[in-house]
Amino acid sequence: MNIARKWRTRLVTSLAVGSALVLALVGCSTDSGSSEPADDSPIVIGATLGLTGVFSGPSAGYQLAYEYWLDQVNAAGGIDGREVQMVLYDDESNPTVAQQLYQRLINEDKVDVLFAPYTTAVGGAVVPIAERAGILMINPGFVGKEIQGQASLLVSTWPYQDIEYSLGMFEFLDTLPAADMPKTMAVITAQNPFTLAALDGFDGTGGALNYAKERGIDVVVNEQYDQTATDLSSLIETVKASNADLLIALSLPNDAALIARTVNEAGYNPEFYCQCGSQVTSLPNWPDLGEAGINVFASTSAYPGQDGFPGLQEVSDYIAEKTGVPGAPAYSAVAYAAGQVLQQAIEGTDGSLDAQVLREYIATHSFDTAVGTITYNEDGTIDFRQVLLQYQDSGNQVIWPTELATADAVFPLR
């Protein structure tokens, strides 16, 4: 090999790898955190989100809600006169990376309060780290009745837990005449700790299977799938062959689109089809599904356009402006509520950042938030409340609770 060629080769390889590293690092947010807890020093919140990787879609909603809340609270003079900063890292949707980053937030950035990352698989991995460090963790990121019960400094802003994800759908079914009540159910579940809890419940309570059993609905298909599956047609064929009246899909956003598309392509026409594993119908890509996305039900924490959800309309408008899709996803409401709970707790304790003081205050007071006025159970969860949406021709409509309904439910699916 001549020298010129050898150097050219090295240059090309170095440029390719070097560019890759530079671009990979661009994705990391590196806001500097505060470490001096003086009275006028900023209040620093630490968090990670899966800004890249499989959970990047929902995480983007969280990030926007956090941005909006920080802008609002700082424009109004901060909390108790102190500016609020957030150190936000990209955990790459990976629990191991998240664990390392939460160690960094606690030990190097020395944040005052933590917000939990998105989804149970990632969030459950970092809770013990926050507990050991004795730092309060507000949890807009994931649901998990079991995890909540094991942590003393974990405070959720989700108005329902993993085991209750499909409860809104069943409560809606209870409002129907007996003739319309489904007799049979097919349930398909992503192999993920959170969705499996949504299927089975915890300690004999909650879970789609228990809800169906309580109502005398016969479960004719109960199948699971790997989230990396590239094709679900045979699974949906099995469901179609069962002719189940009700299809419950307990899935996360990416596979939800695949399921909706496959159901449509298979010509399966159940009476009711609920994507009850996550709030997907207000995500930006749902309208692109066209016919496949129509008349699908999904549960959410709150929906704009209703009274009693302070800040929800504003954060929804902000996110709609940023994403081009009206109606904020569930994630942004609970993310915004996390900031509201923290702000009201600090102000209610005269500026305390002590985890135990804040935790005690939160346990004994109510909070006006984007997910409604909430009070806390002993384990840091909130009493069940949910909004059931259906994505109709006109877009998302609130179907249940009845007093909030903006439209009648459309069924069967097609």
């Binding site: 090309v12 671009l23 679900l232 930006p284």
Partner: protein, 292 residues
């Protein structure tokens, strides 16, 4: 399990297999002819899918008419990458080449995220989004179109490689570049065109994928795994065997799923393929040499 479900699953498998064939052919061509392990293959698939999404859903252009522009752009990109990178690395060892292509993968993925963010995308296919009812079975028009185009492209490629002078030259290049050069073949020029064609076929796979699946810029690795699976099963460098391998994988995947719990589908699929390759280590070719 009734016969209609089985027939439906078989039809789904054939259509899915067509998609897999489309995803794999670019990888097979570059690996088979140029011996380059293009691990950036999957990100090119996704990049092309996103570009197709931008044109069809973003700009509202015709989904069939936009296939060719995406593939043509990818061909031009392939020419540039070959001149700027692959050609320089032609006689380097495999680890250097793979490292360089990994760099390309990360760069393209990062650019895709910057342009299109990490949201999951679904192409709104308009008139192609219909479902065709054929007696007891229903087939989505998108998959039919995607599979038919793939079959047409792969059969066309097969005849191009086996029945034309240029195809003969490519086969000569794949068997021994030095000897090919001695008999008057412009190896550098031909290699560049083959590489660009491989990138264009990867982009074609991306379009096929975008017509049938939702996707995002960071989940391309799963498609790389499927492309390698099809290439390994089909053996290197044959368009027809790549197509057949895709069909086999697709049919096994959909048929297995209706007879056993779906969660075991991939376990069984990989088990069958592992046994098959133990028996025939060169895949469907059954011969320890490349055809092209």
């Amino acid at each position: 399990m009734n016969i209609d479900t089985i027939v439906q699953a078989f039809a789904n498998g054939l259509l899915l297999g067509g998609v897999y064939g489309g995803l794999a052919i670019g990888l097979s061509l570059i690996l088979g002819v140029l011996r380059i392990v293009n691990i950036a293959h999957s990100v090119i698939i996704i990049f092309a899918g996103l570009l197709y999404w931008q044109l069809v859903t973003g700009f509202g252009l015709d989904p069939l008419a936009m296939i060719l522009p995406v593939v043509a752009l990818a061909y031009l990109f392939g020419l540039v990458v070959h001149r700027g990178m692959a050609q320089q690395l032609a006689r380097e060892d495999n680890s250097t080449v793979m490292l360089a292509f990994f760099g390309l993968l990360v760069v393209l993925e990062s650019i895709a995220v910057m342009i299109w963010t990490t949201d999951t995308r679904t192409v709104a296919l308009g008139y192609l989004a219909n479902v065709i009812e054929l007696g007891p079975i229903s087939v989505p028009l998108t998959r039919v179109v995607a599979a038919l185009i793939t079959v047409g492209v792969l059969v066309g490629l097969h005849f191009f490689l086996t029945r034309t002078l240029t195809g003969s030259a490519i086969r000569g290049l794949s068997q021994n570049p030095d000897v090919a050069s001695m008999v008057g073949i412009d190896v550098t020029r031909l290699s560049r065109r083959v590489f660009a064609a491989g990138i264009a076929f990867a982009a074609f796979g991306g379009v096929v994928l975008a017509m049938t699946q939702s996707f995002n810029p960071q989940e391309h690795y799963r498609w790389l795994a499927w492309a390698f699976l099809v290439v390994i099963l089909g053996g290197l460098g044959s368009a027809l065997r790549t197509l057949i391998a895709g069909l086999i994988v697709g049919v096994i995947e959909t048929m297995v799923g209706i007879f056993i719990p779906f969660q075991y589908t991939y376990l069984v699929l990989y088990g069958i393929l592992a046994v098959a390759l133990l028996v025939r280590s060169e895949g469907l070719s059954g011969a320890k040499q490349r055809i092209i």
